[in-house]
C-alpha cells in the first residue's frame, strides 16, 4: 500500500500509529508543563506525582484457552494474570518493561514502551490463534504515578475501594471510579500507585490530585 505499514491479519487491521521520532507526541498533560513544576515547585510533600508519558497501551479482550495463554505468554514475556484483580510487571523482557493489568474476566491492559506497541500488536495478530481483540489505546490514556507518605490519604478522597494493605496488597489492580471519572489503579508499593486514566479526563484528574494533595503537599516529578 502506501507509506504506512498496514497489515491485514486474521482479517483485522493493524496500523502503525507513531510517526518518526522527529515528531514529538504530546501527552494528555502536556499543557500542564509538569517539567517546570518539577524543577521549580515544592520538593517536599506527602504526595508525589509523575506522568509516565507516551507509553504503549493495548487492550486485550479474550477468554484465553490454555493454548492462547501459552501463546500470549510467549508474546509478552510474562504470563497473563488470570486471577481477578491481579497484575504482573516484568522489567526485563525482550521488549523492555512489560506490565499486564487484569481489567475484567476477558480484558487486560498491557503496558509496554511506546515504540514497542505496534510491533507487539503485529506479533499478536500474527501469532495468537482463536477469538480475541487487541486495540491500541496509547493515545486514549495516560499513566500517572502517585506515591508518598500520604498517597493513601489522597486516594481515600478519590476512590471508594479499600486501600488497606491487607485488602489491597502490592500488585493488586482495580478498575474503579476516581472522583467523577474512572481509573485503573494498581498498587506498585506500599506507598506507590499507578493510575491509568483517560486522556480527556486527564486535566480534571490532575486538578483533582492537586486539590486532594493540598493539605499534604504535592511534589511533581518527571519520569
Amino acid at each position: 500500500m502506501s507509506d504506512v505499514t498496514v497489515e491485514v491479519m486474521e482479517k483485522k487491521l493493524v496500523t502503525n500509529q507513531r510517526p518518526t521520532d522527529a515528531i514529538v507526541g504530546e501527552s494528555p498533560l502536556h499543557h500542564a508543563d509538569l517539567a517546570s513544576i518539577a524543577s521549580q515547585g515544592p520538593q517536599e510533600g506527602g504526595v508525589h506525582f509523575c506522568e509516565h508519558k507516551l507509553l504503549g497501551l493495548l487492550t486485550l479482550r479474550c477468554v484465553p484457552l490454555p493454548q492462547q495463554q501459552e501463546e500470549i505468554e510467549s508474546l509478552l514475556g510474562v504470563a497473563l494474570p488470570m486471577a481477578p484483580l491481579t497484575s504482573v510487571t516484568k522489567d526485563d523482557t525482550s521488549i523492555g518493561k512489560v506490565s499486564v493489568r487484569w481489567v475484567g474476566p476477558d480484558e487486560w491492559l498491557i503496558i509496554v514502551p511506546g515504540d514497542e506497541a505496534f510491533d507487539l500488536e503485529t506479533r499478536f495478530f500474527e501469532t495468537l490463534s482463536g477469538h480475541f481483540s487487541l486495540v491500541n489505546i496509547s493515545g486514549g490514556s495516560t499513566v500517572f504515578d502517585v506515591s508518598g507518605d500520604q498517597v493513601v490519604s489522597m486516594l481515600k478522597k478519590s476512590i471508594p475501594v479499600d486501600l488497606h494493605i491487607r485488602e489491597f496488597p502490592v500488585g493488586k489492580v482495580v478498575s474503579t471510579i476516581f472522583a467523577k471519572s474512572g481509573a485503573i489503579v494498581c498498587r506498585l508499593g506500599e506507598n506507590q500507585f499507578e493510575l491509568v486514566v483517560r486522556r480527556s479526563f486527564a486535566d480534571y484528574l490532575w486538578l483533582w490530585v492537586q486539590d486532594a494533595s493540598r493539605e499534604y503537599g504535592l511534589v511533581v516529578k518527571t519520569s
Binding site: L85, G104, P160, V161
Partner: protein
C-alpha cells in the same frame, strides 16, 4: 448504599461503581416479527416489580464492565445472592426463609451448571 459483590471481580464494591439495568431474565423474543403488538409491548414495558424478592440485572460499569444478576429484597434491600449471566437464581420468591439476616454479604457460590443460554437483556 449497596455494597455489591461482583461475581467477576470476586469482591465487594461500592454501589457507585455499578448501574442497575432493570429486571433480569427477560429474554428477547426469538422471533419478534411473530409477536403481536401486545406481546411486544409486554416484552418491552410490563414488569413484575415485586415487593420482596426480585431478580435484577446490574452492570459493573466502572469496574469490569460485566453484567450480572442480583437477587435482592426490594423491601429490606438485602442482597440474597449474586450470579452470573446464564445462571439461575437459587433464592426465589415464596421460598421459605432462605437465609437469616446476617448472611447478606456472604458471597454466593455460583452455580456450576449453566442453565439458560438466554438470560435476557433489559431495555
Amino acid at each position: 448504599m449497596f455494597y455489591i459483590y461482583c461475581p467477576h471481580c470476586c469482591e465487594h464494591r461500592e454501589e457507585e461503581e455499578f448501574h442497575a439495568a432493570g429486571q433480569a431474565h427477560i429474554p428477547r423474543p426469538l422471533d419478534p416479527d411473530a409477536c403481536t403488538d401486545k406481546e411486544w409491548g409486554e416484552y418491552m414495558y410490563f414488569r413484575k416489580n415485586p415487593r420482596g424478592i426480585h431478580h435484577e440485572l446490574w452492570v459493573h460499569s466502572a469496574g469490569c464492565r460485566k453484567f450480572f444478576n442480583i437477587t435482592r429484597d426490594t423491601q429490606t434491600y438485602e442482597i440474597k445472592e449474586v450470579y452470573k449471566i446464564g445462571e439461575k437464581p437459587s433464592v426465589v420468591a415464596n421460598a421459605v426463609e432462605v437465609q437469616n439476616s446476617h448472611t447478606q454479604n456472604s458471597s454466593k457460590t455460583p452455580l456450576e451448571n449453566t442453565l439458560e443460554s438466554q438470560s435476557g437483556a433489559t431495555l
